[in-house]
């Protein structure tokens, strides 16, 4: 090994981070080269200076650190619960809205377009025997006050809704 090559490996030599054969080659070069030996000594001093002890942290730092991490943990837990409850609340609100939309859909579906005739129990018995029918009996259409055109518009709106966008439209589709 020449001086150039040795000088590149001196830090790794100092840290014993070379292979056995490399260590031996450098050691034998150092035995004959005062220049590389001086270079190694100066690196040794640099390493020693770096190892000078650092000043201490301010008193109570350890306790403050534990406290900070503990409160970071509590904040994280509080956020998790908050997320859980806000998600549950959103789901509940969506369900209520969905139920409302579903009910009005059923109501609109079975409301006859104008002219509006009063529904008699016997005529209901002749039509489809479904849950929607019972619903119609409970909520007679004449009191709604909507015209045939309005009902048609509302129906088109429901038909055009995205089936995957929410529980309300999904129920409306399932009903058809």
């Amino acid at each position: 090994m020449n001086c150039f090559k040795v000088s590149h490996h001196l830090s790794a030599y100092l840290d014993s981070e070379l292979t056995g054969s490399e260590m031996l080659a450098i050691r034998s070069h150092l035995g004959i080269c005062p220049h590389c030996r001086a270079e190694l000594e100066s690196l040794k001093i640099t390493k020693r200076v770096c190892a000078v002890e650092v000043p201490s942290a301010t008193p109570g730092f350890e306790e403050r650190l534990s406290e900070v991490v503990r409160s970071a943990r509590q904040n994280g837990q509080a956020q998790a619960w908050q997320r859980y409850f806000s998600t549950s609340l959103s789901v509940a609100v969506a369900c209520v809205i969905g139920l409302g939309v579903f009910t009005s859909y059923l109501f609109i579906k079975h409301t006859p377009a104008a002219p509006i005739k009063p529904v008699s129990p016997s005529s209901v018995a002749q039509s489809q025997p479904s849950l929607s029918k019972m619903h119609l009996v409970d909520n007679p259409a004449p009191n709604s006050g909507s015209t045939g055109q309005e009902v048609q518009q509302e129906r088109e709106y429901l038909d055009g809704a995205d089936p995957l966008s929410g529980p309300a439209s999904a129920i409306a589709y399932a009903d058809r």
């Binding site: 001093i45 000043p55 942290a57």
Partner: protein, 201 residues
Amino acid sequence: MAFTLTRIFDRAQTDQGSFEEFEKLMRQTQKQAFSLAYRLTGNVSEAEDLVQDAYIRAFRFFYRYDRSMPFSSWLFRIVTNAHIDAVRRKCKLRTSSLDQGGDDGSKTIEVMDSSALPDALIAERDVNEDLQKGLDSMNQEFKMAVILADVEGMAYEEIAEVMNTSIGTVRSRIHRGRKHLKAHLLSTAPALYERYCDELL
């Protein structure tokens, strides 16, 4: 709903276990973390902030910690990354304050009155100051490699893990970093070098 609740309670229990593990690891590593942070920042209060920031980050991502790696290596990676972030933020702020420097662009460095300190303390403080100035004058990558090797006493393989690079790169960074530091100390504090030279002989 019940399923989600059970999962939340299960997770809370796991959290309790991992929190205890984290606290234990924190107690074991905080001295080393502080030394590293001090040498990176060169100041006690900034070092404390950096350590605090790093442990909070570490705790937040503790579930991602791979147990096959020593905790200190994982933590030091977080410390060095947090330091790089802080330096970047500071660089942005510094552009305005640089205008307030001397005519030659030099910065004023606060020097403590040393008349009241015993000799040993003065000497120690001087070494610390000279070393810190030398480290601060270095490229960040060389500085980190040198600190991890010489302050933390880590093996090249561990440093490569912390710095996310190859052992060859670590070897070169340490060597170039030490050479830079040596040149800096020889020009700014030759007396310090002579003293250590005498001690070695």
